[in-house]
């Protein structure tokens, strides 16, 4: 399981990386915005994308849309971990095809639950 973590704050990337490691996912890579993440996704064989929303360069929602528009990446599971908690933003992310949405600040349990749920759905297929 290869996972890409995208957030402009390195502290948050470290936190998510730590929690994923706790869940047994050790093969993680990092990017600090959508612009650097997209080529990594297109070049690499990632199985899961965890992304923030509010980032300079290219935002998480634009990255999500770009992923869904890319034939090779369109099925990639995407979890959004973000401070954006407005109703219309969540609706927009859902419309764009997000697989899970976790609002910051979050608990380790909440993140774990969302990730497990996404994988359960994928396996149920």
């Amino acid at each position: 399981m290869k996972i890409l973590i995208v957030d402009d704050f390195s502290t948050m990337r470290r936190i998510i990386k730590n929690l994923l490691r706790d869940l047994g996912f050790t093969n993680t890579s990092e990017a600090d915005d959508g612009k650097t993440a997209l080529p990594l996704l297109q070049a690499g064989d990632f199985d899961f994308l965890v992304t923030d929303w509010n980032m300079p360069g290219m935002t998480g929602i634009d990255l999500l849309k770009a992923v869904r528009a890319d034939a090779k990446l369109s099925d990639l599971p995407v979890l959004m971990v973000t401070a954006e908690a407005k109703r219309d933003q969540i609706v927009e992310a859902a419309t764009a095809g997000v697989n899970g949405y976790v609002v910051k600040p979050f608990t380790a349990a909440a993140l774990k639950e969302k990730i497990e749920k996404i994988f359960e759905r994928i396996e149920a297929g």
Binding site: D7, F9, T11, M12, R14, I15, N18, L19, D22, W53, N54, A83, E84, A85, K86, R87, D88, Q89, I90, V91, A94, Y101, V102, V103, K104, P105, F106, T107, A108, A110
Partner: protein, 250 residues
Amino acid sequence: MDLDSQPFDSLLKEKAQLLLDNLDQGIVSTAVQELLDINDARNDNLYTQIGKITRGLHDAIGNLEFATGDETDAERDVQARVAYVIDLTRDAANKTMDLAEESTPIAAELGSASTALRGDWEKLANRELSAKEFRELYRRIDDFLLYAEDKSNQLHSNLTDIVVTQGYQDLSGQVLQKIVNMLNATESDLVSLLEMAANMQTPDQNAEVEPQKLLTENHKDILAEGPLPDSAATLKSQAEVDDLLSNLGF
């Protein structure tokens, strides 16, 4: 020729030439008229400049929101954001210290329990224990293994919570970035106002300044979202977000 659209300096040159020509030819009444035209054009130009500065001032005041009362929305907004950062950092520091304070005695207990067992364990290795003492040691080691497993889970959980708590850096960073953007936009408004006032002394050079455009551009950054304390449109918890998503069929 349309006097309104002609730049003041070219009009001045043209009229000055006509004035001299008329004076040379002794047509004094026409010369006086040229002089009056120059004066009118100068006044018009002045009014245009004053109008521009007034509009710029009005826009800047609107953007700075200095216009009403002692405390404006913008100031209250900044205060709310700073208060949010203070709360966020204080809560994170307290939570981290609580977890560390809770973990320290656990680590100490694990250490002292190990030390106590190690004494008898050495006796066992040296065959200094009676059968009764050995059964007692066996029971204590059994208890200790359960205890160590439980306490190490607790330490692990506390350390994970400490890691997650550091997320305050991301949230406070986003809020502070927004405040910095607001201050930069305010500074730009004041600078553009100052430039317009300075250009007042040399009319017409200021013709290209478009304060409205300048102000709008400067304020683009503020529109970015982020953690918003007490915003009506913001969902308050992960549970509310989950409800919304499940209503949307997720």
